[in-house]
């Protein structure tokens, strides 16, 4: 199925490209194939359940869309660390931002680290770590609040693909150190991590 869609997209792109050339118009930079792709993110946990860290849809425009990493009804959030995975054949990471994170409450500037450090170097997995710095206290999250955001762009390939929390390591940290065998205590009960799916169509 995917192969068929790809061939179809290529055919459409060639046709549109030929038209644009013959008409003397500028190309559409939404898509190298000329066809305006549309990417839609659908969270798998919506509305988000209490005590969860979920991906939610943010702003979207054509083939570019933003996913919000949000906490819902979790107390004592000091930081979090996890990998996000996606299909690099379908999606590229464009950017990420912790501006406006609920971890900034009280004037804190959270540590926000990624591996790789440059979005363009990501290839299917990005490791995120975000944290307040002691002695700033952990934050009680009431309702749903945004931890940080990640913006993706669809590649030339139409299809469906998940964006997921990798299974290990992932942690929502209270900032309480637990003897060094674990780096900091996870909130209890352990929150639900839930991703979502992206649909790319033309």
């Amino acid at each position: 199925m995917r192969f068929t869609k790809s061939k179809k997209a290529l055919l459409v792109a060639l046709l549109i490209g030929g038209f644009a050339l013959s008409a003397g118009c500028g190309g559409d930079d939404d898509d190298d194939n000329g066809g305006p792709l549309v990417a839609t993110f659908t969270p798998s946990n919506n509305p988000p359940a209490a005590n969860s860290l979920t991906l939610q849809a943010g702003s979207a425009s054509g083939d570019t869309f933003t996913v919000l990493i949000q906490a819902t009804a979790i107390n004592d959030v000091f930081g979090a660390t996890f990998d996000l995975t996606y299909d690099p054949d379908v999606l590229d990471v464009v950017s990420w931002s912790a501006a406006g994170s609920f971890l900034e409450v009280g004037g804190s500037v959270p540590v926000f680290l990624t591996f790789p450090t440059v979005a363009g170097d990501a290839n299917g997995t990005v490791e995120f770590t975000i944290s307040r710095l002691a002695p700033s206290p952990a934050v009680d999250v009431a309702g749903t609040q945004t931890l940080f955001s990640v913006t993706f762009e669809a590649t030339d390939t139409v299809g469906n693909t998940p964006i997921s929390f990798a299974t290990s390591p992932r942690l929502v940290c209270t900032g309480e150190i637990d003897g060094g065998t674990r780096t900091c205590s996870s909130v209890a009960p352990v929150p639900l991590f839930a991703g979502g799916n992206v649909s790319v169509s033309d």
């Binding site: 930081g79 790789p116 710095l133 002691a134 942690l171 150190i177 780096t183």
Partner: protein, 707 residues
């Protein structure tokens, strides 16, 4: 103002004018006329010596117009400057020649072309033809910007200097003498001088000594209560030759009990010099580049530092540098120190032993309180070669300790790199001989009969050294000889021995222990290796001679008293670990197993099992954070160049968000507080702070992980 006052002012003005306006006396050979009025630019003198003797006074300059002057001069104790006009005009010296070839002294004796007395300066001339040195200088004298060539003498063919002499920016070439063909410095403080003798920024080339010191001979003699000092710096010493010692230069420091002497040889280029003495005689042929010796009853120090010593040759040993320290030891205040530090000693070649160095430390009944040190630090020895019948591509080392305690001696190699040297019969890099002797048992000297000799290696790299085919000891050939109540020890801490090639082993060790003349005590030998890496050598890591060979590992009295102790070390990828003879003598404790993961420059990777694997009791405080709280193995271990450990708080060998969060959660905490984790305090500052966050962040963003 009365008349007396006016007269006084006039007199003062006249006197002031006389003092302020030193005369500049011109000499123009063939044009000038020697007479009572000569010396003005328009009426120059004919000869330099006439101007000096009859026209010059203290403070004057004798300015010589370009030309050849077949004369010898003597400043006659006048504090004057003798300078060429061409030098004053354009900085050259080749066209103004003082040639002493035809000079004859009283009774037909030899004389120097130039004799400088205290307070004189010689500048910008060509000095040649001296048959008792080109220039002889006494007292506080400056010899600068001259070409001193084709002179000869017994000591100091080019220059002989005794006093607070500055010899700078000269070209001293093509001279000959018995000692110090280019320059001979006799530093004595005889003139009550307190300033250094300084020989700086000269080019000393193509001089030839019949005996010692082809380029220069620096002799610092400390007589009672004196402290002469010599600095030899920033010179080019090239293609000089001597027969006995020091093709490039000799530095010899001797002092009386209440005296001290110091010679510093630094930042020179010492290239392609040679000692040529017949290899059949052990009395000659040492120190192609430099020979340095310290001995006496007071305090002598010689520093050889930051030099480039390249492509020198010797017939016997120490083609690059030979340094000998000898202490007779009757005086408790004696100090004999030689330091060879931060030099590049490369591509030197000996016909016999010691391609790079020949080091010799001899302590004979050293009195309590007296000390001797020969320290070799931070040098690169690369590409040096010993002869096919010789030992020690990089060097030959002797320690002789007779009735002297180890604490009085310091023969140490620290932070050196021995790379790609070639030994002959053995010792691709170093041949190390430690001989200790407690005999005679009865002695009137303090220290009784005990003798100890210890050679230390710390943070040393031996890489890619080799012997000729069939040779032994690709990196080190150690020979330990002990007689009576005596012990010879070689101690290797944080040494990396890698990629060396020999038929037998990387470290070949032989020991010979004998019972004293009273038949009481037998000597002992010990080789200690800790926190070290012996990897990927062709041959065994440690080997010994053929079993049953007379006197080695099976002493002739039949008891044997030799041990090898290997602790916290990595022996990986060698053709074998312990040669059969050695195995029974060796204790291996706390081995560190696995591939040390050395890169092309033999630096361990961050996942190397050699990191944080050394003796927990060893000092790791100089290792940069994060240092894991334990010393690394190998030559960089324990030093500021040590490979950093992973900033891995939880010990899972991966730096990820868990580690970052641990630091963040413990941020600003100190020991004793609940959130403080010592493993997150990478720099052991007793505070988890931004530095620790930066360490963990730096590893996080590169995805640092180890399998």
């Amino acid at each position: 103002m009365n008349r007396t006052g006016i007269v006084f002012l006039v007199l003062v003005a006249c006197v002031a004018g006389t003092v302020a306006l030193a005369d500049e006396l011109y000499v123009d050979g063939g044009v000038g006329v020697d007479n009572d009025a000569c010396g003005a630019p328009g009426s120059p003198c004919d000869t330099v010596q006439y101007a000096i003797a009859n026209r010059a006074a203290d403070g004057d300059s004798v300015r010589i117009i370009q030309g050849n002057y077949a004369e010898c001069i003597d400043t006659l104790g006048k504090k004057i400057t003798v300078v060429s006009d061409e030098y004053e005009r354009n900085g050259t010296n080749a066209g103004t020649v003082l040639d002493g070839t035809l000079c004859v002294g009283t009774g037909g004796s030899s004389v120097p072309t130039v004799l400088l007395d205290d307070g004189a300066t010689l500048q910008g001339l060509t000095i040649r033809g001296g048959n008792d040195s080109g220039v002889k200088a006494f007292g506080t004298v400056a010899i600068t910007n001259n070409l001193i060539t084709a002179n000869e003498g017994s000591s100091g063919g080019g220059v002989y200097a005794n006093g607070s002499v500055t010899i700078a920016d000269n070209v001293i070439s093509g001279n000959s003498a018995d000692y110090g063909a280019g320059v001979y410095v006799f530093a004595t403080d005889y003139f009550g001088d307190t300033e250094d003798v300084v020989i700086a920024d000269n080019q000393i080339r193509d001089n030839a000594a019949v005996s010692d010191g082809g380029g220069a001979y620096l002799f610092s003699l400390g007589d009672t209560g004196t402290s002469p000092k010599v600095r030899f710096e920033d010179n080019l010493v090239e293609t000089n030759e001597a027969f006995g010692f020091g093709g490039g230069l000799v530095a010899f420091s001797v002092s009386s009990p209440t005296a001290s002497t110091a010679i510093v040889i630094t930042r020179n280029e010492i290239l392609q010099n040679a000692v040529t003495g017949d290899v059949s005689s052990e009395a000659v042929g040492y120190g192609g580049g430099v020979w340095a010796g310290a001995t006496g009853e007071g305090g002598e120090s010689i520093e050889i530092s930051e030099n480039v010593v390249d492509r020198n040759t010797s017939t016997v040993s120490g083609a690059g540098v030979a340094a000998w320290v000898r202490g007779p030891g009757e005086f408790a205040a004696s100090r004999h120190d030689v330091v060879v530090a931060n030099n590049d000693i490369t591509n030197n070649e000996s016909d016999f032993d010691g391609g790079g160095m020949d080091l010799y430390l001899e302590a004979l009944s050293l009195a309590d309180g007296a000390t001797m040190a020969l320290r070799v630090e931070d040098n690169l020895l690369e590409g040096n070669i010993a002869g096919p019948d010789g030992l020690g591509g990089a060097g030959f080392v002797w320690l002789i300790s007779e009735r002297t305690l180890a604490g009085q001696l310091d023969l140490a190699f620290e932070r050196n790199e021995f790379r790609s040297n070639l030994g002959g019969l053995g010792a691709g890099a170093l041949s190390v001989w430690a001989l200790t002797d407690a005999n005679p048992v009865t002695t009137s000297l303090p220290g009784a009969s005990r003798a100890e000799g210890r050679i230390r290696f710390e943070n040393v790299l031996f890489a890619d050294n080799a012997t000729d085919p069939g040779g032994v000891g690709a990196a080190v050939l150690a020979y330990l000889d002990s007689n009576g109540d005596a012990q010879s020890t070689i101690e290797m801490s944080n040494v990396t021995i890698v990629g060396n090639t020999a038929a037998s082993s990387a470290i070949e060790v032989e020991s010979y222990t004998t019972v004293d003349s009273g038949g009481v005590d037998e000597g002992s030998g010990l080789l200690e290796i800790e926190n070290s890496i012996l990897a990927s050598n062709e041959g065994f890591a440690i080997g010994g001679p053929t079993p049953g060979a007379a006197g080695v590992l099976a002493p002739d009295d039949g008891t044997g008293n030799f041990d090898i102790e290997v602790r916290y070390s990595n022996l990986f990828g060698n053709d074998g670990v312990l040669e059969g003879t050695i195995a029974g003598l060796t204790t291996v404790a706390n081995p560190v197993v696995g591939d040390p993961l050395l890169d092309a420059d033999y630096i361990p990777g961050r996942c190397s099992p050699t990191l944080d694997a050394g003796d927990p009791a060893s000092d790791f405080s100089l290792e940069p954070a994060p240092n894991g709280g334990r010393i690394n193995l190998g030559n960089l271990g324990g030093s500021s160049l040590a490979v950093a450990s992973l900033a891995d708080v939880n010990g899972d060998r991966t730096v990820n968000g868990l580690d970052v969060l641990a630091v963040a959660a413990g941020f600003t905490s100190i020991p004793g507080q609940p959130k403080y984790l010592a493993s997150a305090d990478f720099d052991s500052s007793d505070l988890i702070d931004g530095d620790d966050l930066s360490f963990v962040s730096a590893d996080f963003i590169i995805g640092a992980t180890c399998p």
